[in-house]
Each structure stands twice: as structure tokens, then as C-alpha cells.
């Protein structure tokens, strides 16, 4: 099974609004083993110049994955998820994700190409607050091993 090239350039519906919560940030920081107090303690975050607790930079992947989930799970795309590994990841931040943000994530497939026996697919996901403020752009490249057309 090969990835359907007709999906190149397709933009998927935005995921439902995601509310960045104190509990989720702390859970994520615990899971990556990062004890930094700016991820848990409002006073520490304010001392660092933020309005409230901020998220570790890579928490943006949770939100961007919610945006690209509809693409990855689309049977018409033909991605074999068990054969997928993460090839590249890049984030561009306008600011840090902060407790209380409500954001949406909308993904576009920007590249599909063969690399040897593998196929690589890049999605660009825009994470924007419900008020329209850009927070982060996430560029994710997935590699389906052995998936070349």
C-alpha cells in the first residue's frame, strides 16, 4: 500500500479548540522528566516574565498531532501507521503556549516524496488561538518504512 499522492496540498478541518490546562502541562513536563518550575508554579513563571505557567516547547506536538490526526487516520491517504517513524520535526513559535490558551490546529500536507524504499510525508500545522493570534507553526515529517510507491 502506498500513500495517496492526491492528498498533497490538502488542508484538513481544524481540530476542535484545545484548552491548554495547568494539569496537562504538569503531566507533560513530568513525562519528559523536566522539573523546571515555570511549567508548574505560577509565581516562578511570572518571575520569568510570563503571565502564567507556560508549556515546554515540545508540548506543541500534542496539539499539532490533534490537528493532523484526521489526515493520518484518513483511510484514503493509505498511511500504514505501524510502519511510521518520525523523520523530522520543526517548530516556529510566536510565543510560548500558556495556561488558559484555547487554540486550534489546522494541518496541510505540504510534501509527499520517496526516499529510497521509504516514503516521507510532511504536514504543516498552524496553532492559533481562537482569537486569531498565531502561537506556533509545526512542521512534521513522517517516514513510512518500505512504503515507497
Amino acid at each position: 500500500m502506498a500513500i495517496n499522492r492526491e492528498y498533497l496540498g490538502r488542508t484538513f478541518p481544524a481540530a476542535p479548540p484545545y484548552e491548554v490546562s495547568r494539569v496537562k502541562i504538569a503531566e507533560f513536563a513530568d513525562a519528559i522528566g523536566d522539573p523546571n518550575p515555570v511549567y508548574r508554579d505560577r509565581a516562578a513563571a511570572q518571575a520569568a516574565g510570563y503571565p502564567d505557567v507556560i508549556a515546554p516547547p515540545t508540548l506543541a506536538i500534542v496539539i499539532s498531532m490533534a490537528g493532523s490526526a484526521s489526515a493520518v487516520a484518513d483511510p484514503g491517504l493509505g498511511l500504514n501507521y505501524a510502519m511510521v517513524v518520525h523523520g523530522e520535526q520543526r517548530f516556529e513559535y510566536s510565543r510560548q503556549l500558556t495556561v488558559g490558551d484555547t487554540v486550534t490546529a489546522q494541518a496541510t500536507i505540504t510534501d509527499i516524496r520517496d526516499a529510497g524504499r521509504n516514503v516521507m510525508m510532511t504536514t504543516k500545522t498552524e496553532i492559533v488561538t481562537v482569537d486569531g493570534e498565531h502561537v506556533c507553526t509545526a512542521l512534521s515529517t513522517l517516514v513510512e518504512r518500505g512504503g515507497a510507491a
Binding site: 522528566g33 515546554p56 516547547p57 515540545t58
Partner: protein
């Protein structure tokens, strides 16, 4: 947490001390739950091997998170990450024992940019493999 680094104190070419971060099967189970990425290759050895992997492997994003921690710990709480990108060049293989694996991250100040921005070139290794390449973070320093 480290002291705050200031833009004026940073010199291009400065090598930053390497830091080692542990990763165990428990780390991956926690990361599955926190991230929502339950791909079987991160927790099921039988299925990981069945798709040709040597064993369970860490989420690439777990490794990237360790590199992110390296950057934010170096830069200090008043710094902001503006760009952060990596290529996952080799998997971090995590055996089912009490030790797990280690991700060693190092960095060098690659470039000082306008607007109090500093670019760091990062390297991450596990065992003998480079697990991140073309890893670069741009931070805004006070």
C-alpha cells in the same frame, strides 16, 4: 535550573557542557499517556520486532523534548525558544531492563543573530548512534 544567560555574555563557538538524560520503558509509557501517541513501537516489544525494529524505541518527540530541556536549562527562565528543529537520524532503542537507555545532548553556540537571538547547534547520541542530526534551536535571550 541554571542561572540566566544574557545575550551579551554569549560567544559564538562556545561549547556547552553535555548532559545525559535517562529513558526507561516507564518513561515511554508515561510519554505515551501524556502525548497521546500510543504507536505500538513505543511500548510493545513483540510488535516492534514484528515490524523490523531491534526492540521498543523511544518516541522521537521524547528525544526532542530532552534536547528542548537542554536548551531551556542552558538559556534560563527569562529566555524564549523561537525556533526548534531536529531530524531523527537513528532510533533510541530502549531495552526492557532497569537501566533503559541514555540520551546524551551537547551543543555549541552556532551564531548570534539580531534581536537578541542566539542559534544553538545540538547533538544527541544514544549508545554509538547519533539520534538527532541537523538539530538547531534559536532562543531569544534577555
Amino acid at each position: 535550573m541554571t542561572a540566566q544567560v544574557g545575550y551579551d555574555d554569549v560567544k559564538t563557538g562556545t561549547e556547552l557542557a553535555a548532559v545525559s538524560y535517562p529513558v526507561t520503558r516507564l518513561s515511554l509509557v508515561k510519554y505515551c499517556g501524556a502525548s497521546g501517541d500510543f504507536n505500538v513501537i513505543h511500548w510493545n516489544e513483540r510488535l516492534a520486532r514484528s515490524v523490523g525494529l531491534p526492540n521498543v524505541i523511544a518516541h522521537g518527540m521524547f528525544t526532542m523534548a530532552q534536547a528542548g530541556r537542554y536548551v531551556t536549562d542552558w538559556a534560563g527562565p527569562g529566555a524564549a525558544v523561537v525556533e526548534f528543529g531536529v531530524r531523527f537520524s537513528s532510533p533510541v532503542v530502549v531495552p526492557d531492563d532497569d537501566i533503559g537507555a541514555t540520551i546524551e545532548v551537547s551543543g555549541v553556540v552556532e551564531e548570534k543573530l539580531d534581536g537578541n537571538l542566539v542559534a544553538l547547534a545540538l547533538t544527541a547520541r544514544s549508545l554509538d548512534a547519533k539520534v538527532l542530526t541537523r538539530a538547531r534551536a534559536v532562543v531569544r535571550l534577555p
